[in-house]
């Protein structure tokens, strides 16, 4: 199962290596990882999407991450009410004649064409990973030349619903 794990870490040299090294050493698969500064100076936020087999392995990965001295907080937010976003850049083959056709496809996704050249268009999309996957599928027939994705970043919504409502908010199954 895929889990979203949010880490608050000290912004120190080597901290990314500590986290990824640990996951590799304990045989956890990282689907994506994103890191950036937070509202507090010296503190960074990492969002990991990891593939784990079962609850016991999930518990192990959070406990091992917690043991890292530069890791301040670890939470598995998969089943919480969260906002989660990823950004993708997709370069599609085609000249400007295709532009209006592609615009028609990407419009419902609220994506944008941000670069146009003689033989390619670049589309920027932000959203949940499944939404990005869906757009990529639709664009595939035009010939995708390149994709770059940031990986998921996420945090808790301002309001957490009661426990029995939680599953509907789950971002990743």
């Amino acid at each position: 199962m895929k889990r979203i794990i949010s880490l608050t870490v000290q912004d120190r040299s080597g901290v990314l290596n500590r986290v990824t090294g640990l996951l590799q050493r304990r045989q956890f698969n990282i689907s994506s990882i994103s890191v950036g500064p937070t509202e507090t100076e010296g503190i960074s936020k990492m969002t990991l999407v990891v593939e784990v087999e079962d609850e016991q392995r999930l518990e192990q990965v959070t406990k091992q991450l917690n043991k890292q001295i530069d890791v301040l907080k670890v939470s598995d937010i998969t089943d919480k009410a969260i906002v989660a976003r990823e950004l993708a850049l997709i370069k599609v083959a085609g000249s400007s004649q295709l532009r209006s056709e592609i615009n028609g496809i990407i419009d419902p996704f609220r994506a944008l064409i941000i670069d146009v050249s003689k033989d390619s268009l670049t589309i920027q999309i932000t959203g949940r990973p499944d939404k990005i996957d869906a757009l990529i599928d639709l664009l595939r027939p035009y010939g995708i030349k390149e994709i770059a994705r940031t990986g998921l970043t996420a945090f808790l919504r301002g309001h957490q619903p009661q426990v029995n409502e939680l599953t509907t908010y789950s971002q990743i199954k």
């Binding site: 290596n17 090294g21 301040l72």
Partner: protein, 575 residues
Amino acid sequence: MKVEEKPDFQTSAAPKTGADLLIDLLITEGVDTLFGYPGGAVLPIYDAIYRARGTIKHVLFRHEQGSIHAAEGYARITGKPGVVIATSGPGATNLVTGITDAMMDSLPLVIFTGQVARGVIGTDAFQEADVMAITTPITKHNYQVQAISDLPRIVKEAFHIASTGRPGPVLIDIPKDISAGELTEVPAEGTIHLPGYQPTTKPNPLQIKKLADAITKSVKPVILSGAGILHGKASKELTSFAEKHKIPVVTTLLGLGTFPANSPLSLGMGGMHGTYTANMAIYESDLLINIGARFDDRLTGSLKHFAPNAKVAHIDIDPAEIGKNVPTQIPIVSDSKEALVELMNQTSESPEAEDWLATLNKLKEEFPLWYKHDQNGMSPQWLIEAIHKVTNGDAIVTTDVGQHQMWAAQYYNFEKPHRWVTSGGLGTMGFGFPAAIGAQMASPGSTVVAIVGDAGFQMTLQELSVIYEQNLPVKIIIVNNGALGMVRQWQELLHGNRISESILNTQPDFVKLAEAYHIRGLKIESQEELITKLPEVFAYDGPVLMDCRVLQEEKVFPMIAPGKGIHEMIGVKPS
């Protein structure tokens, strides 16, 4: 003409370089001994050690691996961090085995490695190695010092991290321009700032209550005692607790001595080469109380068959150990002593386990440890028993890994804690002898015996120079079977008797070797010889090496074959 006065480092009390400051900080931390080896990138540190001579002792080993194993031995006996210094590049990489060993066995170490100057880090400079990356997975934490003013905080944090919670090695990588850098002002005292490190030491009262109730309800309780009892200095509490409720105790390999081996409640060591009774007690039990052990695979055997009927309670200071290998119904994150004291304060009834104890006593009588006492040669088990006798069971015993380690574990019945120094988790050959040096330095009045194999000893024997130089009365017993005994045993039993590359046909003359290092050496080939020589050897106030020739074919039994369950021991009785 006026001559400008130069500061005199040898008399001046104020620190002058980063390295001087470092030595001052070590003295403040109460460090009395440094285990080290100099080199280019630590020259400024050795300069400071020279200036500080008389206030801090440095012992020069002959290989960095020797220095770190000695520091481990020191840490195991004192409970204080062993302090190691090595140079950059090869000096640091030679420490890797020892750092990993300390990490696996939770030994507190603070390791200082030199590094090339900051300006050339990353340029593949002479003797540069990425020590931070190399040691990240094998240390509890590591630091690279980026400013002299950070030293007080980093040193303080390193000692704190190494010695609290679940102890472990902490490494500080010091670029040469930092250690050589001149101090413009004396930096303020370091303060610990570790928001991400707050070990839980006090148990949750509800969980303690839950465990106390489970004890009352159990009819087949058993305690598994691990090295967490040593770190928590909780042997007394463990003994009172077990005696109060009449709960039998199994110890792990590293937990030997945490519970007196001669107690009627002691079932001995559990695991691959543990006693049949200890393993069957775990297999049959309805309540397994693990205190400070980590359910290592050499203890559990196949997890499928491990304590299948037991409710499992696990007291550990490291939450990540709880539930890692064995599903746990009563998790208690705590220091071992704190948890035991709280458990003793509970007013709950003792279990009704008379039948259980009677069953276990019968097993003990029926399946004691056994070996064939060969009259034509020396049985290694008998050798260990003889050492036990001559040292009144009160020596500090160190070992490498393998057959001799298991025989020492089985036949040197430890009555007291902090007497047993062995490489458990990593299983490091070449550990025992240098560890004995550190143990002897930690406890100068104790009898220290390094029980080592003929193969492992040859991995770190260069440290013979150190025991001569420091006049340390370490007694080295080489259990010499001319083989990598455990490898040979597995090949015989599990690999169709294909004895592949595990026989050491050529050996040095160990007696001459000892003499070459100015140490007394003797070769023992028979039991009679041993009986005559042993008392003399142990009465001698100086180092002695004994090359004891034992039977090559002898195997360690009983045994859980790899992949088998804890109830499937082989060789439980003489065939």
